[in-house]
Symmetry: C2
Subunit: 401 residues, 2 copies
């Protein structure tokens, strides 16, 4: 039979990234396409010990229904850590645990937008969030970025003309996919525009603690004195993504409604692993763990960047980020990256064309994203060498449009 | 500052049940208000052993990102079990793992309804689902029930007049809150009406395996030859609710879109516990475990029913169900249960007024729900005795309206 779908879900397609992830499960493919943390970065031994103690000491609590706000000790410890590390958390703020940062985007969108409202995204931006916005039948507009982050003039041009802007979505630090970090000056300017034109900012910061070089830059949320910023964080990149634990810090009026949205969405997040995360924060040294993870990723980033310098043709520009999980590359003017990615796949190396991270359809997009956290060191060397050969072949056999 | 909420979330309030759950956390209160499984019904030892083996043998897989469809072995084993136990699963059907049955309602609603579409619910019905529907700005209509389940004439009267009915939501077996089970004849009739008037059926079956007396009745899904029924099941009541694992079996065209909706909602369900559930299904004896749980709950139900007969005034009608977790009681004509529930709370026994399960506002609602799975045997005896005294006092001091 034919099913009548909601307007909001009409035309929603599976995320290209997720589909690529499936392809990349082919063990003979060197996957630079994922955004996965390295398995060796998961604190397995500590979590195993904590899990065993939960089974021994408080299984009833771990397996029973919990409250939609999240396991109270995890809320408290996360709140405390946000304050200490990032100076986040004013008197008016509260925190809810969600099933990964993705759920933070979903709930924020559900709660704050009506169909055909406008949400502004960086161009390019994270596909998972873009799709969450699309699934609520919104008018997505993209704002220009440069190496310093969102271009304020581009943002102002949009919000000046459009009175249905509900929020700006931004990943200011080690952005996915571009790896860029917004300067402090730009952050202040963006927040000022939000005040002036009365829109909210959804600040997504999954990679903030994964800095390898350069100086810390304050989050937008820490600059926010009136509750204009909804801050979404995650334990996916510092503990493990499979546990699906993230959090939202926002004004208590927003969190109060978020709890209701969460309740009807999945009642609460997996109780056992909220307890594991809380115990980990309480008894283990997350800061030291993050230092280790940073070291691991910095080495991988340096290795990949070195190989790129060695094997890529000079005309291909790449941007070495100060942190995060991604390297962003650009073909010479006039070349499209789709054909390149296809060719690379045939040679058993997967990369993601920049086009999939765009809100607007572009005729040509010469960018592609490479992940350095997931592949082994050996595969980084091997994969970049193959990719270098693919690039040379591609540039030789294709003419710029 | 003032926040502009979406139309769909305007007026959404926290579920009364969830709020009661918080009150019932007062350890001096005997809680008949929850819907929790008994902690002693969780297969802790088996899950502990399985968890330890996952930590030892496949931690990378358990903590890494997974696919939105759910952990493939769990999908396969659940599909197989549905077929064997309930004759569910035609060639056109597929299965997705969700983060508890609640997410099944959320995703189905998001996927299938536009604002102001109609969804039909049993009167009374499960508050969590009602709130999920409300959170998509729907027109909720209630269909009459009697002891045999939904009254077909009442359903036909609605669907005849309303061409925006998208689906009927039903818990046909051991319904929450009424404990009722729909007869086979009624199930067939309901499905026939769905065909005739072209609407879908969302069949929620969290308690189906918790039968203590009477004969099995086929699910509506097992009678469905054309993919008109979306079947939502859960491991909350047979394994544990805190793990948040449920599943949806429906036509593959529906599941394909559901995967996308799931992807933008929380990417995937907690990977570790999808693996625990799969291993449990594979290596342990879930059927035997369910037999044990049934025995445990049957004893509690018999105990509570016996105490009610002993302590409640005769004018209070109660319905002993064939399964599930709830007993449904009714005050004499003209009495409202709100005051009773308040009075009981003051005497440290919590019960839920039937009113909170109603889609429509009623002037008087003399029903209340009692849960027998959570309290200890001792508390069942003690609580029902207190409640009996409260009832006598309430009926004496109040006059019917």
């Amino acid at each position: 039979m034919k099913y009548l779908l909601s307007d909001r879900m009409q035309g929603m397609e599976a995320s290209a990234i997720r589909e690529l992830l499936k392809v990349a499960q082919d063990p003979t493919v060197i996957a630079f396409s994922a955004g996965n943390p390295a398995p060796e970065s998961f604190p397995i031994a500590e979590m195993a010990e904590i899990s065993a103690s939960i089974y021994k000491n408080s299984p009833s609590k771990a397996f029973q229904y919990g409250i939609s706000e999240g396991y109270p000790p995890l809320r408290e410890l996360t709140t405390k850590r946000l304050k200490e590390k990032l100076n986040i958390g004013k008197d008016f703020d509260q925190l809810i645990i969600v099933s990964g940062a993705q759920q933070g985007m979903e709930l924020s969108t559900k709660m704050l937008t009506n169909p055909k409202d406008t949400v502004i995204c960086e161009s390019p931006s994270f596909i998972g969030s873009i799709n969450a916005f699309k699934s609520y039948d919104l008018n997505l507009k993209s704002v220009e970025m440069d190496e310093m982050g969102i271009v304020p003039e581009s943002l102002e041009a949009i919000v000046k003309e459009d009175n249905r802007v509900r929020f700006l979505y931004t990943i200011p630090t080690f952005q996915n996919p571009s790896g860029r970090t917004m300067t402090l000056e730009r952050r202040k300017k963006i927040l000022e525009l939000a005040r002036k034109y009365d829109f909210l900012i959804l600040e997504d910061n999954p990679y903030g603690e994964l800095r390898y070089t350069g100086e810390e830059i304050p989050t937008i949320k820490s600059l926010d004195d009136e509750g204009r910023v909804i801050y979404v964080g995650s334990y996916s990149k510092v503990l493990a993504p499979g546990i699906r634990i993230g959090f939202i810090c926002a004004h208590k009026d927003i969190i109060a409604k978020m709890v209701i949205a969460k309740q009807v969405s999945d009642v609460h997040t997996n109780q056992f692993f909220m307890m594991v995360a809380a115990e980990y924060l309480e008894k283990c040294d997350l800061d030291q763990h993050i230092l280790n993870v940073r070291k691991l990723y910095k080495n991988k980033l340096d290795l990949m960047a070195g190989c790129i310098e060695k094997y890529f043709p000079e005309e291909v520009i790449f941007h070495k980020p100060d942190g995060g999980l991604f390297l962003w590359c650009q073909l010479p003017e006039g070349y499209d990256a789709m054909g390149l990615c296809k060719l690379a796949g045939e040679k058993k190396v997967s990369i993601v064309p920049g086009r999939v991270f765009e809100v607007d359809d572009k005729e040509i997009s010469g960018t592609f994203r490479m992940n350095f956290s997931t592949p082994s060191d050996e595969n980084i060397v091997k994969g970049v060498e193959i990719l270098g050969a693919v690039l040379k072949e591609y540039l030789k056999n294709n003419k710029p449009v």
